[in-house]
């Protein structure tokens, strides 16, 4: 059975059809890339899956169970964690406290077997933020904030991680680090990942399968090399097909 199923999801904003009959399946432990130009509906799709937006129509299933219209906190406790493209740390808290909140309230449940602080530090270790644990989250650089987004999502103990442009705005060097972090945490935790990314290199390295959205519709699905050759995708991105 597929871990996550998105079936005929549509979302209207007034007269704009942001998502139009989008259907996709994600297998356990798969990494699915999601690409498309600005306004193609990628973030909207994440928001619908994570419960921040209610779809106008369609169904979302997690392990066969319908979760359409659930509130975000409930979706999180069922094992779907998301990051935000525009980072949203708890700025009044330290980096460690940000992660602790996610441990306390997430899917994994806090059993107090190991101290909360230790568990937070383990997760910060995984994303390379251990040295900044006591820094106020509002004072971090962009790349550290992106890492914190990932750490906080991880701390909720997800099965599925929705990563929304965690590499946007990073330097090439930082992109490489982030790719390595994502590969490592995926292996360690047998995570299923859906990743939205404009950095093509990252998408190619990380995803086994790529789905391309254009004006709210899926126009192509395939392995990264197949997508690179796809006529529709080239047309959508470059406006002409070089046949």
């Amino acid at each position: 059975m597929n871990l996550l199923e998105v079936e005929n999801i549509g979302k209207n904003f007034g007269g704009v059809r942001a998502l139009d009959e989008v259907s996709l399946m994600v297998d356990k432990a798969e990494t699915l890339g999601l690409m498309g130009a600005n306004g193609a509906g990628k973030t909207t799709l994440f928001s619908v899956i994570a419960g921040h937006l209610k779809p106008s129509n369609g169904i979302i299933r997690l392990k066969g169970k319908t979760i359409t219209g659930y509130r975000p906190d409930k979706v999180c406790r069922l094992g779907i964690a998301r990051t935000f493209q525009i980072v949203r740390p708890f700025i009044g808290m330290s980096v460690r406290e940000n992660v602790e909140v996610a441990i306390l309230f997430g899917n994994s449940g806090y059993d107090s077997a190991s101290s909360l602080g230790d568990r937070a530090m383990d997760i910060l270790d995984d994303v390379g933020l251990q040295g900044l644990s006591e820094t106020s989250a509002g004072k971090l650089t962009l790349s550290a904030r992106k890492c914190l987004e990932v750490a906080r999502a991880l701390a909720t103990g997800p099965e599925i991680l929705l990563l929304d442009e965690v590499m946007a705005g990073l330097t090439p060097r930082e992109v490489d680090d982030m790719i390595e972090i994502i590969q490592r945490i995926k292996l360690q935790r047998r995570l299923t990942i859906v990743i939205v990314e404009h950095v093509v290199k990252a998408l190619n390295q990380l995803s086994e399968r790529v789905v391309v959205l254009h004006h709210g519709k899926i126009i192509a699905t395939g392995s990264p090399p197949e997508i690179a050759q796809n006529i529709d995708v080239r047309e959508a991105y470059f406006g002409v097909s070089d046949t």
Binding site: D73, C76, I91, G106
Partner: protein, 309 residues
């Protein structure tokens, strides 16, 4: 249980609670005038602590907390000589809690300035409903003959101040309190990491209404007189917010400092030059908001207010 252990080890809190309790000696040592001052101080401490539990922790500024105080006073006044006080005062708290629960669901849908205005408007609405009900049954005001002495009321009020302080402290140290702080920082993120924001906001709002309900009842007994416009006076809400801002809401001692500061000002100026008093309150409010947004507590005990948020 761990929370309780934490409280027993918290020396600052224990000293603070002890000093609250020591005010029981004020009537004997300083006479009845100061007994009333102590009663007023304990009243404002209770109200401001309770306000902090919700508004301080979630960042939703309620400008209508007087409604819970007023409804508690109304319960005690309208059941006076019908129900014993040990029933009617707690009943005032319960009714205030139920009222908070009922209004929380529509009111907590909005944030920021909309929430502030809505709580204010709602308190005014309830005030006029109660006023019309009272007028229609021919009771524009009620005299409460045979109320307990000021000393007895002071003891009850000290109890309420202690409970309000403990409640706020326990909540701030719990998982629930962490969730509320997360809501204050970023509600969307809070819900994304699993904080049940709707449930938490409603629970905190309800909890923060119970003590004010009981305080209102005790104050009605103190004045031996119940008048709707007086117990639902919006100035009470404004004063609570002012005390929380001036005292600071990140430290348990903050609400006390705020209440003590404003009472001291009013003792000094209210009786002689009331115009100066209001001007000073306004000035201090501006000064604190601009220069010391975390209040007196953060100036006196900087480290503690930061990590006990």
């Amino acid at each position: 249980m761990t929370a309780l252990n934490g409280i027993l080890k918290d020396r600052v809190l224990l000293i603070f609670l002890t000093s609250l309790v020591l005010t029981v000696f004020v009537p004997d040592l300083f006479g009845s005038y100061w007994a009333i001052v102590a009663l007023n101080l304990m009243m404002w401490v209770s109200l401001t602590q309770s306000w902090t539990l919700f508004s301080g922790m979630t960042g939703y500024i309620s400008l209508g907390h007087v409604v819970f105080y007023g409804i508690g006073a109304y319960v005690v006044a309208s059941t006076f000589k019908v129900l014993p006080l040990w029933v009617s005062i707690p009943l005032g708290g319960v009714v205030a809690g139920v009222l908070a629960l009922l209004v929380a669901i529509p009111v907590l849908r909005v944030r920021g300035p909309y929430f502030v205005i809505l709580t204010f408007g709602l308190a005014e609405l309830v005030k006029y409903i109660v006023l019309n009900v009272e007028t229609s049954i021919g009771k524009s005001s009620r005299l409460l003959f045979g109320a307990p002495t000021i000393e007895t009321l002071l003891y009850i009020m000290i109890g309420l101040a202690v409970i309000a302080t403990l409640m706020t402290k326990l909540v701030s140290q719990s998982r629930f309190g962490r969730g509320l702080s997360a809501i204050r920082d970023d509600e969307i993120t809070a819900e994304t990491v699993g904080v049940p924001v709707v449930k938490y906001k409603i629970t905190a709002f309800t909890l923060s209404a119970v003590i004010p309900g009981m305080v209102g009842g005790v104050i009605a007994l103190k004045s031996t007189y119940f008048e709707v416009l007086q117990v639902f006076n919006p100035v009470i809400s404004f004063t609570v917010v002012t005390m929380a801002i001036i005292g600071g809401s990140g430290d348990v001692r903050g609400p006390f400092m705020g209440a003590a500061f404003l009472l001291l000002l009013s003792e000094l100026f209210w009786a002689t030059i009331p115009q100066i008093y209001m001007i000073l309150v306004g000035l201090f409010l501006i000064v604190f908001v601009v220069f010391a947004p975390n209040g007196i507590a953060a100036i006196l005990w900087p480290a503690r207010s930061r990590d006990s948020q």
